[in-house]
């Protein structure tokens, strides 16, 4: 029962984050919302494992957590440099 309540709360938070991801004026709003959606998915995965009595999805949750931060950094680097295959030390050209 308690896991059901927490799952409902996480799903409400996910729905609100999806609203912001669709409506966000700048790309950073969408990125923040995407990061929050990733965090919520990890929590939902763990809670769903407890809800069904088989808490073995936590390994997938750890993997999603690492992928989430890498995805945020990859999108940020692509936004700033327009290219992923560039070392981060150089200044971007003024476009």
């Amino acid at each position: 029962m308690m896991f059901a309540v927490a799952t409902v709360a996480v799903m409400v938070a996910l729905a609100l984050a999806v609203v912001r991801a669709l409506a966000g004026p700048t790309v950073f709003d969408r990125l923040v919302a995407a990061n929050k959606i990733g965090n919520g998915v990890i929590l939902l995965l763990a809670l769903f494992g407890f809800l069904t009595g088989r808490p073995e999805f936590l390994d997938i949750g750890i993997l999603y957590g690492l992928l989430n931060i890498i995805a945020v950094f990859a999108v940020l680097k692509f936004l700033r440099y327009g290219d992923l295959a560039r070392s981060g030390g150089e200044e971007p050209e003024n476009s």
Partner: protein, 148 residues
Amino acid sequence: MMSVVVDIVSWVLLLAGGFFLVVGAIGLNRMPDVFSRLQATGVSDTVGAGFLFIGMMVQAGFTLVTVKLAFLLLIFLFTAPVATHAVTRAALSVGVKPKLFDSEGRERQQVVEEVQRSKTDARPEPATKPKVENHAAPRKDGESSSKR
């Protein structure tokens, strides 16, 4: 008796975690600015996830599941502030301006210019003449938008 205590503790922790997550999501929708949205969602997301994971740990007991949950909590505690900081730095360097208001409700621009000036002072090499012109152009835009 013991299981009742464990249930009550994990009820409280899971409810607190869900509350913080929903509050962060509401702040993500209602705040006026990228930076305040980051503030609202980054902080409360970390706290809510921490409460939820600790609640699940209390329910799981001393098993391997608790160790995995502790690793997940550790990953959250490291990655959420780093991601928030990176998004903030990227938004400032691209040129997204925070909405600032003084005590009378008018928008301010000085703090943004001070931030950008300190950035150019910290790295004196790339501060060449075209960069100064680039900084001067949005400043005029900001003045005209504040007059409106």
